[in-house]
Symmetry: C2
Subunit: 481 residues, 2 copies
């Protein structure tokens, strides 16, 4: 797909050498031919008007017109009254190149035939409040026209830091102020910044939940530290195992564990905070999904219990939309300086306009209204999922349903997760085995470890949930041992 | 400044314990008192309506009303017909905390009295095309309502990669295709990604221009490599010195050297490309200011000469506005995979809506029109600067004026840069000595090294340029040795 510039298109770089003996008109023809042949100008691209090009090159307009006419005659260009002079089709098709490694996800080859994808962690993209977001961008531009175009450089826009700190205090029972908030471009950047700071401060080992998102292992390694797996049971993270691991930092999802969906039990919350105090440790709290709880009382964040030991990571990817790419850190006072410095030295931060728009959106109540609306949407999807499992996969247990947009479907012992995944995929339904969240594949006979599927339903509507679970039920009845 | 939520404000996290013997009404009162005393709720913040809170907590509305009345009576809350129930002023003022280290720039203490700032590298913020940008955001949202809310994950939005590659081919005589383009959140992030990839590929030493931006030294060190200074003379980078440095990568500003403003001479361009081929080296081309040339023919980019050896870094911070925070890399084919991977593992990239808006802005011709308009603005500022120096500092030479938004004002030998900087600052004019761009302070008697000021005029209007240079002239006549 070629780029079709509106109007005249960007300036075309050509340089005539007046010291060279070659007449300027010939030089111009040669250079335009070379630009088309070499692919700098592609089929359909418009050339500058003869007036503009003559002004830029300090030659007569007649010379440019003559040159264009010559190249039209030679078939390099085509001219028309309405749309100016353009590059002709077919002169040079760029050679097909091999696709560079790493630019496609490993599963892209089968994407086109997946009809229902129970991917974890994707919110309902159709419900993303684009009109509200555009409104907020306008409001921010209207109220701070110069600020939104300048560089914000350090911890992020002050207004947004004030708003997210107040929001976190109110909704999550946090205790941070604006001076502890650092705006980042999403969870991933926030985690990488925090890990870098910990590594520079001398931390060597970082505890990661098992099961849990395994890409964090690599992030820890790239920061120069060792990831250590800490088991998660029905009460959440095993704090005794964390002590034994000799880690001095840990990444946890206390509100709704990823992927098992369990809540960190009250006594374990206190044990975890005590651990941090005892080993001079840092708790990285991924507070995702906390807004989407259904049948239980809200659980405050760990950050509110120990603001000097807990670094809370907030993100909009699940509440608003992943494309917004904004998030925040609420940082223990001693680490604020190092985190801000790390941010400055790796990227200058998020767009100023977007930051002020988010502050506007949150203060206006529109953010909150969206979250409340989505809570109902997801609650209905969850109920649909529960009903569909009862109907199509009777006897199987769904766990982690009290909150969030995913649940764990426990499979009978002996079922091989990969077989289920592949059979479902052949029927255009994508599901994900729990093993991909584990450090080690479950050993046969291990009492505690059942095969299971992680079912994300955030971006799957009710009709597709019904159909997808029906297929899954049929697949399971064919793969039961 | 407290946050004033519109409407009811975000949900307030409170949890009643029905197993506890304490009556629920008392629990609610206690928790609200604690939230106000502890600073979770601040003066002026609105509480949820009694209806909403009663629904959330599953208690009677009358209980919530009674609780609010009690706390109004106690002075924690205030109630009014129009604006609901709010937190009273004066109950708890957050204790003043010491400002965390690292969140202010070192020079912030004097910012309030600087009236004219000849800072390098800042474009005219008042001219930033905010209406065009908001238009482009809307257009992108209108044409791709779901795509702009999703996550783009790898190299960046395809449409934007197509557009920047075509732009670079046309305006800069580059040779990249969309598959070599990687969208980043600005120059800084792009440079850090590229340096990380080089370090992981085994590069140990990176050449940096001297004089040049010295913060790059630290970026190279943080990537685990050694920065080596390579002298810049009147023809640009000293390629012989680069050979001797044993570096296998180099960061250069060939179109308009930062900060001397010289153009890399043709024979040195070829020598630099030959160096890269000979040592298996990589050239990081910072192509800034290339759009703003005044009295000379355009100079094509190095990337167009050797696309397999040159990684070009493009940014909007100087052509559009630093607050946009978008940029791009055009990457040698062999490095595309590693660069994309590095990007994915450090941050998920730039906002999808902003990326498609930039593609829209560039294709529409509005970007180009803005660049052309700014070229005239900067040309006039440059002419004003030249005239002012002739008038107020006769005999001093300005160099690097053929392009860009800054120039070098050479000072007489023996003048001490720091004295000029301080004397000007006392008169509310901020200028910057060339020494801050040098690895070593100039040695007395060194033939080649004059004291000089780097004068950025991008964000200083003509009136201020005149006044600022007048002050500088007076300062210089007082500090001449």
């Amino acid at each position: 797909m070629s780029v079709i510039w509106s109007g005249e298109g960007p300036a075309l770089l050509l340089a005539l050498d007046r010291a060279d003996g070659t007449p300027l008109g010939h030089q111009l023809q040669d250079q335009l031919r070379a630009a088309v042949r070499g692919g700098r100008l592609r089929a359909g691209e418009r050339l500058p008007s003869s007036r503009r090009l003559s002004e830029e090159l300090l030659v007569s307009r007649g010379m440019v017109v003559a040159c264009y006419e010559q190249l039209i005659a030679e078939g390099y260009l085509v001219g028309s009254a309405g749309s100016g002079t353009r590059v002709a089709a077919g002169v040079r098709e760029p050679a097909a190149r091999s696709r560079p490694a790493g630019t496609t996800s490993p599963s892209a080859t089968t994407t086109d035939r997946v009809e229902i994808d129970f991917e974890y962690g994707v919110p309902d993209l159709k419900s993303a409040p684009l009109p509200d977001w555009l409104w907020a961008l306008h409001e921010a531009g209207r109220t701070a026209p110069t600020a939104v175009m300048g560089d914000e450089r350090d911890a992020g826009a002050l207004r947004l830091r004030q708003v997210v700190a107040a929001y976190h205090r109110r909704v999550r029972a946090g205790t941070a102020d604006a001076e502890h908030a650092v705006i980042v471009s999403g969870f991933r950047q926030g985690l990488v910044l925090a890990l870098s700071v910990l590594a520079r401060s001398g931390v060597e080992r970082v505890g990661l939940e098992d099961p849990g998102p395994r890409e964090h292992d690599e992030l820890v390694r790239r920061a120069g530290m060792h990831p250590v797996a800490v088991p998660v049971g029905g009460d959440g993270l095993d704090v005794d195992a964390l002590y034994r691991s000799r880690a001095r930092a840990v990444v946890v999802t206390p509100a709704h564990q990823c992927p098992t969906g369990v809540v960190l039990a009250p006594e374990r919350r206190h044990a975890l905070v005590a651990w941090a105090a005892e080993v001079d440790g840092t708790i990285l709290e991924d507070d995702y999904d906390a807004e989407f709880r259904y049948d239980r009382q809200p659980v405050g964040c760990l950050q509110g219990l120990a603001h000097d030991r807990v670094l809370a990571l907030g993100s909009l990817s699940k509440t608003l939309a992943p494309g917004i790419r904004l998030g925040w850190l609420l940082v223990p006072p001693a680490l604020v300086g190092p985190v801000v410095r790390e941010k400055l030295l790796t990227s200058r931060g998020a767009p100023a306009l977007d930051q002020l728009a988010l502050a506007t959106l949150m203060e206006s109540g529109r953010y909150d209204r969206h979250v409340r609306r989505m809570r109902e949407v997801y609650r209905q999807r969850r109920d649909t999922l529960t009903g569909a499992v009862t109907e199509h996969a009777p006897g199987l247990r769904l766990v982690g349903l009290e909150a969030g947009c995913h649940a764990l479907l426990e499979l009978p012992e002996g079922v091989v997760e990969e077989e289920v995944v592949h059979s479902a995929l052949r029927r255009a339904v994508r599901v994900y085995g729990l093993s991909r969240y584990r450090v080690d594949a479950p050993r046969a006979g291990e009492a505690d470890v059942h095969p299971a599927m992680v079912i994300g339903f955030g971006n799957v509507n009710e009709e597709r949930i019904l159909r997808g679970v029906e297929v899954l039920g049929e697949v399971l009845s064919g793969t039961l041992p």
